[in-house]
Symmetry: D3
Subunit: 137 residues, 6 copies
């Protein structure tokens, strides 16, 4: 069992806001992140896949395939988008980095499995100092 | 003459859009950056100041003072904001990194001069791969 | 269960020295790190916390709260300090990165628990190439 | 139990090629990596070792010793080499990052054990975006 | 006048070797870089362009255009190639980072000029610690 | 004329303190940096040298020679040292990054000239966010 990682990047706008709360309560909990006009980030998505070495290639899985899976199924949906408005798989959900990582897991898990490997971790870096990791359970 | 640099970071939303153009023309020129619902970035602002060494401190200018000047006059206005809507000094201007760097120069130049030093360069990194430098002329 | 990370930075002086050993033995084992006049580093502290998503916020724990916990209880005690002299929680201990990480764990573990989450890992990067991780057991 | 990490870097040429396959099949699977004239990378090798704190030093293991073990047994064999031609321990093997990490594990595991610690992870970063981790089983 | 930068990356093999010298002289001057079987690097190419702001776009030059110019005219010729064998514009030249930067300048200078801007600097980072900058004269 | 850069790193302790001032005045001006027990940093030293290409090597100057000059004449004097106590060339001087960069320039300038090249810039990064550049006049 060996682990391979691929990083991709995207730039998106979002806001953290609970529609069941008052404006004041939102500002108290989410602070500047509740700005109704949105703010944004350069996110770095790191996908870790595990599996055994294929004796014909020396690969767990071709990283070029993994790159295409991530780009076509995640990056194209979120890059240069507004996570609260433009992204179908985030509709009606909090656009916290935690929830975004969990939703990306749901998209990637079956696609990686089709290539005979297992999704191990979805990591999102939101800023230089803040990040999230999800291992699927 | 010696040069000192201070980096600060902010996260903001923006969109690139020319209101005198059609939607199609905007999409053609600005591509995904024209998304009407905004996207965003983690910007890194690097401010370079030049001057002579103060013989009492060994400093061109106290970097703590420079940090406060940048934070109070720039970062507080742009961090977790929408550059197209929330930022008075960008009103009616393109929110390209170029224009943003030039406007930040106008704010910082006299404030640095008050401390007996000269503003040399305003640099903005918008993504890992894209950046801008402005030297004031 | 999802994991969130927050990075903070501090700059400190220290020396590695065993007072039960001769000067020669200290120099032999600790090399340049035994310099009696101290040397120093920019340390990066990465704190990982795990927990379940709060359905009202989409957060494991508010990263702003985590930032304040780390800054008030760790960074303020170690930043611009001498780890061998100025830091009460390191008194009489080796100031190796390993021991420092373990002592930071003891400080942060109950404070994170008060916020309904669990401390998962304390990581310290001492230089570009040297780091330590502690998981609490 | 605490974990310490040491990073070392090397620059090497390689090619991904299965000699049992046709040129076309190699190009189809390995793409540009199959270039018969080789390409190359700056690899970053991160070695994680775990163990208990030595009460005389505050160390799991002296990082200077770990540095020397890695340099003498791995870096000197691969740095500024061609992984397909010049490196005895890679002879007849695929020079994928996965296989390289597994072979480096075999070299380092007994050497770390001689110092009373346990090898935990061998990580190789091949590019900014691609990396591999091996935990020995 | 404002400066914009775009970074692109490529991975290539090369060797430093003067065919007019003996093997011994090559090894003495170029050390490990003279390895006849090649070694390689992940190069980072940073291109700086200067010009005035276009009042219709807020841009010096569209960074998407600059990206395409760099990718199509430089990256596609050098990525996953052997700089000594595969790259027409390096034929018969030393593949030092200096010479490579100067040759890339010759390619990019007229192409940037066609877009109404001026090439200011070609920078190549060969490793974490070694880099070159060329300003065209 | 082309520019080459070499980075080296060192870890040192220091304090900022003007002996002609009271303790209060020192604390007011230098803040935490005046801590009498010292603090420290991982400094990154970037040395830029300019010159013409040697037609026999494709080099301005061999970067291996530049590395040795920097290591033997600067790094060995400052690494794991206390800049206020242990470093002869800083005796009686402020150990600000500015002054340190200027003193390193004085050491390196004639040594680079002996190799037929010119020292162009000495840059010191003291933290992730603070740095200094000196061009010799």
């Amino acid at each position: 069992m060996i682990y391979i990682q691929r990083k991709e990047r995207f730039s998106a706008a979002h806001q953290l806001y609970n529609p069941n709360w008052s404006e004041d309560k939102n500002n108290e909990v989410f602070g500047m992140c509740a700005n109704r006009n949105f703010h944004g980030h350069n996110f770095t998505l790191t996908v870790t896949v595990k599996g055994n070495i294929n004796p014909d290639t020396g690969f767990v899985m071709n990283l070029v395939d993994l790159k295409h899976i991530i780009k076509e199924n995640v990056i194209e949906q979120v890059d240069h988008r507004n996570l609260n408005i433009d992204v179908p798989f985030m509709k009606g959900k909090f656009t916290s980095t935690e929830v975004l990582a969990m939703e990306i897991w749901k998209i990637l898990q079956p696609l990686v499995a089709e290539h005979g490997a297992q999704l191990h971790c979805v990591r999102l870096d939101e800023t230089l100092n803040n990040s999230v990791e999800y291992f699927g359970d």
